[in-house]
């Protein structure tokens, strides 16, 4: 049984319907809202599996169904659905992880008064995300891209009465929107040059060779190929959405949202949308690879940004004390990995890592959620500790997630996907930087995850909340166990010996043999050694002698206080932006505002020019000086009117007499001038 591409719209439509139901339900409609959401998600999961089944039958085929959104008289604006293995795998992942997280939320959000609204927003998000995946048009993708941004905004700010949450929501929306402006410009440029935004359209789509050849043939400013310029602009959107340097600042703050939201949106799915975008547009991004004479290739930029982000995220994660922020920076770092993989040409490896990461990162976040739920919303790892015995199920699954993330060899999925990326980076000839950055991040990841586990679960409880933690209910534990299973099993879909997933994604024939398992063994050994070193060091600093109290100093901070302080402050990125971009905006606003008032004065009266000079600074001054000019002009008119009014004596005889005299004068003038 398969789902044909014509009916692919059902997958996003089901959660959308659930969101609509949730939106009209009253606050008390907790059960219907949640059951609608979960049922819709379950159905979407089944449909996604059917779609995958269909897509795998012919993996090289891009099945499309295009239709006109609206007609302008001169050609319609087209949208469409696309079914290929990339879409299908992503849909299955999103619906499955989403379903588990929905179930988990039943427990986590049990006591929240806005339970129904939460499920409404979650369903809205799922709908938008799935719409993004099945889109066969960059425009539809962009629309859903913005809608996931909206859902993210609503969910980060779910507890909007907390100023921090409200500010984080705004920051997330604005930062991603900054990237989206690049996306929009790229989209417009692409539309303008290609005349279409459909990905695949029987030879006329923008990802098909005919159009791509046209795009690479033109050069624009700086000698860039047109496709490079468009690709880079589109990549801006991915940078914003996927939290890549330099627009990564919003992601850690987004942890102000409820933890299931962090798991679903800011770890597993939405932030991976940028990676998905680049993977989807891979033919476009890679179109300039054949050109030798261009200053830079689009993918080179992607690889370098990814490398920087992977390293930066891992470094900052070392010094974070909030359990969710550690995971957030780890997400930044892992997304950097994926970008790196895309940049070095291994887009299938990137998607492989995306899928494995989605499962184990969702697992980690839900585990963190379980801890937070149990410990009465205590998130600071310095004040946790000793939860190993109190939360055994959470502990076990969390450690599986940690091992997968750290890349513990052979058994865990993260190892295989990460190896695939490192292998590809090793083979990249342009620059060794991605490989080095990737290897460094491997060690750092192992280190900070060990730190996180040791601080949270080992030692003794360091706060009353931690001491009285109780294991979460089954509705929260079962998703953890399922995700943990996936975190292990999924890796075997893409081992070098049997790269089924990669082959299916690329639509290539599968060549599996056990001999390939240890291909590039030297690199694999090196990375295993680095993982071991990271875990060992982490255990040495944090595991062997757990900290005694919440106030005790961090062992690393004791060794190098300045470095750790800088890292804890996230290397000052936020401050830097506040000082530059924020200031710039404030300045532009002041100039615009001042100019406005200035023009007012100049245009209307031309009076008070002197006052304006200082007036730009002070608002009140401005109002007085400039609008004063307008008033002066008005007063002048009124004065003239008053002097004229004096002639208006109110004596009827006077008027009549004036009339007569005027008539006589007029007659005399006419007579003297000679009447014709």
């Amino acid at each position: 049984m398969t789902l044909s591409v014509q009916h692919l719209w059902l997958i996003p439509a089901l959660p959308l319907a659930a969101a609509a139901v949730g939106a009209v339900l009253p606050r008390s409609g907790r059960v219907p809202a949640a059951s609608a959401a979960i049922a819709a998600m379950g159905a979407a999961f089944v449909l996604s599996c059917l779609a995958l089944n269909g897509a795998l039958a012919d993996p090289a085929r891009h099945a499309v169904h295009n239709f006109a959104w609206f007609d302008l008289g001169h050609g319609a604006v087209m949208l469409g659905w696309l079914l290929d293995p990339l879409t299908a795998f992503m849909c299955v992942m999103v619906t499955f992880v989403g379903l588990l997280i929905f179930v988990f939320s039943l427990g986590y959000m049990r006591d929240d008064p806005h339970f129904a609204r939460f499920f409404c927003f979650l369903s809205l998000f799922a709908a938008a995300m799935l719409g993004l995946l099945v889109a066969n048009s960059l425009l539809l993708l962009f629309i859903c891209w913005e809608l996931v941004g909206l859902a993210s905004y609503l969910l980060i700010g779910f507890w909007f009465h907390r100023p921090a949450a409200a500010a984080a929501a705004k920051k997330a929306f604005l930062t991603t929107r900054l990237g989206d402006l690049g996306f929009l410009l790229g989209l417009l440029w692409l539309y303008d040059s290609a005349g279409s935004l459909l990905f695949y359209d029987a030879g006329r789509g923008v990802l098909e060779s005919g159009v791509l050849a046209g795009l690479t043939a033109q050069t624009v400013a700086g000698g860039l190929a047109l496709s490079t310029a468009i690709g880079l602009l589109l990549f801006c959107g991915a940078v914003g959405k996927s939290g890549q340097f330099p627009l990564h600042v919003w992601l850690p703050d987004a942890m102000e949202g409820p933890t299931p939201v962090s798991a679903l949106i800011h770890a597993a799915t939405m932030v991976a949308a940028g990676v998905f975008l680049v993977a989807r547009l891979y033919p476009l991004m890679a179109a300039d690879q054949a050109l030798a004479a261009v200053p830079v290739h689009a993918l080179t930029v992607v690889a370098l940004i990814g490398a920087v982000t992977a390293l930066l995220g891992a470094v900052i994660a070392v010094a974070q004390d909030d359990i969710k922020r550690v995971l957030a920076f780890s997400t930044v770092s892992q997304l950097g990995y994926m970008m790196l993989a895309l940049g070095v040409g291994a887009w299938t490896a990137a998607i492989f890592h995306l899928l494995t990461h989605a499962f184990f990162k969702a697992l980690l976040f839900l585990g963190a959620g379980s801890v937070i739920h149990a410990a009465h919303h205590e998130q600071d790892i310095r004040r946790l500790g000793g939860l190993r015995t109190r939360l055994p199920a959470t502990y076990r699954t969390f450690v599986i997630g940690m091992m997968a993330l750290a890349g513990v060899p052979f058994l865990f999925s993260g190892f295989w996907s990460k190896e695939a990326i490192l292998h590809a980076a090793h083979g990249w000839t342009v620059s060794p930087l991605p490989l080095w950055a990737g290897l460094a991040a491997v060690a750092l990841t192992a280190f900070y995850m060990t730190r996180l586990v040791a601080e949270t679960f080992f030692g003794s409880p360091r706060s009353p909340a931690a001491a009285h933690a109780e294991e979460s209910p089954a509705v929260m534990r079962i998703p953890l166990v399922l995700l943990a299973g996936c975190a292990i099993l999924l890796g075997f879909l893409g081992t070098p010996a049997w790269p089924w997933l990669q082959a299916r994604l690329a639509g290539a024939p599968l060549h599996g043999s056990l001999e390939h398992l240890f291909e590039g063994g030297g690199l694999m050994l090196l990375s295993i050694a680095l993982v071991g070193a990271g875990i060992g060091l982490g255990w040495r600093f944090y595991g062997r002698r757990p900290r005694a109290s919440a106030a005790a100093a961090d062992p690393l901070a004791a060794a190098s206080p300045t470095l750790m302080a800088a890292l804890a402050a996230r290397l000052g990125c936020d401050e830097f932006y506040a000082a530059t971009v924020g200031r710039l905006h404030a300045l532009a606003a002041a100039v615009a505002d001042g100019l406005d008032r200035w023009v007012l004065g100049a245009a209307v009266s031309g009076v008070g020019l002197l006052g304006q000079f200082g007036g730009v600074v002070s608002r009140e001054n401005d109002e007085g000086a400039l609008n004063g000019g307008f008033d002066a002009a008005g007063a002048g008119l009124r004065g003239a009117g008053r002097s004229y009014a004096r002639a208006q004596t109110g004596r009827v005889h006077g008027y009549l007499r004036a009339l007569a005299v005027a008539f006589v004068v007029l007659g005399l003038v006419l007579l003297a001038g000679g009447v014709p």
Binding site: E146, A169, L174, L188, H585, A589
Partner: protein
Amino acid sequence: MSVLLSLLVFLPWLGALALALAPRLGVSASRRLALAFSLSTLGLGLLACARFDPAAGGYQLVERHAWISALQVSYHLGLDGMSLLLVLLTGLVSPACLLASWRIERDVRLFGLLFLLLQGSALGVFLALDFFHWFIFWEISLVPAFFLIKLWGGPGAPRAAYQFFVYTLGGSAFMLLGFAAIHAATGTMDFVALAGLGGSGALARQLGEPAATLVFLGVLLGLAVKAPLFPFHTWLPATYAEAPTGASMFLTGVMSKMGVYGFLRILWPLFPGHVQAHALPLLWLALGGVVLGAFAALRQTDLKRLVAYSSVNHVSYCLLALFAFAAAVPGRAYDSAQHAAAFGGALLQMFNHGLSAAALFAGVGILEARAGGRRGLGDFGGVRTAAPVFAGLCGVAMFSSLGLPGLNGFVGEFLIFRGVFGLAPWAAAVACLGLFATALFLLTFWQRVFHGPVAGAAAGFRDVSAVEIATLAPLAALMIVLGVWPQLLLGLINPLLLEWFRQFAFAS
């Protein structure tokens, strides 16, 4: 010959007359009567919509009677896709304005009377096809607007009203002079006839240089003040801020469209050559409106001023599309898809902005009413906690204004950007700045007022009443519908786009 259009124009005036002749009408009855007459526009507009054949092109449901034969003036009403769009907009926004003014207790009868006068004259502007009565409607609209602002406005209202009146009247005076010259040269003031002359270049020849340029500038000035085009917008923030909520809604929702309508109906058809020759500076001005309007909004602390500046920003998008099209003409082959996108986008944006800006003003009006006249950015906090339904409706309007896909604002802005990018890429790039600043100030507004702990005037904030829901909900629902299904409106204007394309493409 149908009298539908005359009915459309004069039924609100008839309503005003009815109110004028019923001095003892009670407060509630006055409100209802005014609302009923105001709703007539929507009903008749839909009727016109049903009778309108989009495929036919040209003006439909035309009414034409000789009027003043000495001046060759005729009473000439007609409807094309653009007029229809704006008539529908007026029909939607006007009842909402009256509903938003439901809480006014003082001189309700006079308020309704003036408002219906205003509504009728706006409809007259959208339907008249002869400059003579077009201008009468255009000027008459100022009078009720002036009194609405002056009598029911805030503390600074008298000055704002005078400023509004003098500024716009001053602008129109030049336009009148221009048309006097046109009439002297051609002997007609009929738009259809003049458009024919303008399209063939005969109008400019008959006027001769430099008279033609002067006339062009005069007409431009009159329209630029009304629209407003940067830098002639300075009357706007004070006026919108001081006007009562219903009047602000109408001013931004409908009257600002009168200016843009004039650009499309008069300036361009009559002076295609001049528009093209001056398009580049005009394009810069429109860009200035987009960018500076958004940034100026960022600095406002008065919510009404903030929304007013956002209005400058949004209306400038329409003008941006028009001028980008004009600027691109010399030395560039036409790409009809870009042209269609730019114009279609401009028309949609007019409609969309009418809805979203009116809804935003209504929202601010509710805030102001609840807070006893305070409407500073810092006077509120956590309104969403206190009034979730209100917050939801305002949120739809805000995100529509911000251009979020899925809501109506996006479609228009996307088409505008699509067109502008193809015609003047740098302008689109610069305008993106405005897009970002819009998001910035709207989200700041949203965060400060609706989020955070309940503070300031939000304490004891009641959620929306039935009347307020009736004001906001239809607008919000339409925003969603039009965001998903823009064909609903585009179907009305598509043939018009083709027609314009033929006209303008060969006018130069």
